[in-house]
Symmetry: C2
Subunit: 288 residues, 2 copies
Amino acid sequence: MAKILYGKPVMEAMNRRMTAEIADLKARGIAPTLATLRVGDRPDDVAYERGILKRCENLDIGVRKIVLPLETSQEELMATIREINADDAIHGCLIFRKLPGNFDDDAVCAALAPEKDMDGITEGSLAGVFTGKDRGYPPCTAQACMELLDFYGYELKGKKAVVIGRSLVIGKPVAMMLLGRHATVTTCHTRTVDMPSVTRDADVLIAAAGVAGVVDSSYVREDQVVIDVGINFNEDGRMVGDVNYDAVEPIVGAITPVPGGVGTVTTTVLADHVVQAAKKIAAAAHGQ
Amino acid sequence: MAKILYGKPVMEAMNRRMTAEIADLKARGIAPTLATLRVGDRPDDVAYERGILKRCENLDIGVRKIVLPLETSQEELMATIREINADDAIHGCLIFRKLPGNFDDDAVCAALAPEKDMDGITEGSLAGVFTGKDRGYPPCTAQACMELLDFYGYELKGKKAVVIGRSLVIGKPVAMMLLGRHATVTTCHTRTVDMPSVTRDADVLIAAAGVAGVVDSSYVREDQVVIDVGINFNEDGRMVGDVNYDAVEPIVGAITPVPGGVGTVTTTVLADHVVQAAKKIAAAAHGQ
């Protein structure tokens, strides 16, 4: 029987810290504010946006919800981002991606100011994740994995971490963050030969394959900590992770559930990035 | 008896390709030109500079050798970099680092235009290495490892690659480049527990520990390909790698010598980056 690493207590601990920080900022006349930028009405985006609005409302973080129609031009979208960059009352921005239609995604990412990039999409944020320097913000999901491991007290130094997946939103950044904590880090992917033999060697396994239930009992052994980043829907419409939970949970030492694990923490990390961005502004103002 | 992976034939093959490319560029009125920027007279820098000048002269690549005195101010150094950025006759720049004295290294790196960054020091180049997008240029030493593996025909897809070291000049970028070639990549470092057990599992081992001879016979097994990135000097003043060559060479399948391996290719990669930068300018001009 594994220890179940629920996201809720992680979220609650982060909320308590943030609530104090937000009160402090407001006392100094700064109202942490996020801009959300959505193009079109894709149901995934609308659902995520609803979650963000609720989370921010609960924390008393302001949200400027910007929605552009599908027929928006590249130049109009870029102009909107430049307005967000220039608006001192907005501390961070989340752009719902992947963008619909034929937008130049690289140009859109490049247009956002790194200091307002809350989800690791700009060159500045990506270089920050790669170098370990304080520049921009890492992708929220990658940081959510680290928040879970920290909250439950797992020491990473000298441990073997294996990451399944090499995307820019989770696999590569979480590998860099684990390396920054002095883990020995292996990245697996679709071309890896005999993946179970690699993942069974891990102390900490991050499953970000994007395939429902691909991590089965052959991938794991006792005492492992398994972080399931997957959000998939099975044939019954039920949300499932990348880990076959029923097969893996009886074997390993600890596991995050889906839903109720990483996903629960991700939106809280986004809110935290807004608070940290507002704190940087406050510190810079104080320094002047 | 291992196959010895000498750098010289790699360099010669690259030189043949570049010679044709440079002739083509010159026929179109473009003289590929590198600016070298050195502050002070550190012997390592002077020796590397001499190697670069010779390599570029042999290839008919122009060099603007800029040397600033130790007492140069941050602002003067930044102004020099801005002049290099603005000079259309200069296609790339190499800054000798680490800079002496108390320069703000981050600011210096940020000042250089990514498209003229020949050695992976700008945010743009680092983000390019991390994302795999065509942006800036990777650190020359990291690319030299890949050139060696390519020249000698080692397929990386599905292979296990282990990198010792996590620096920004070699460990992290070469890990990303190996991942881009679909290897399963593990990064080890000083905090790795029982490193020999990890490195013995590699098909390809990149040794970039920065410690003379640290990779001994316990780290390797038969059939491995070992790339030694180390440049160290032993008590006799002899140049040695991170691999204990005499102990490792009889065991593994292939190994680069030091000197005569990676280091031989690194300056050639720098020259190649200048040629590629000049070709991009030419292509952009042609596209107008």
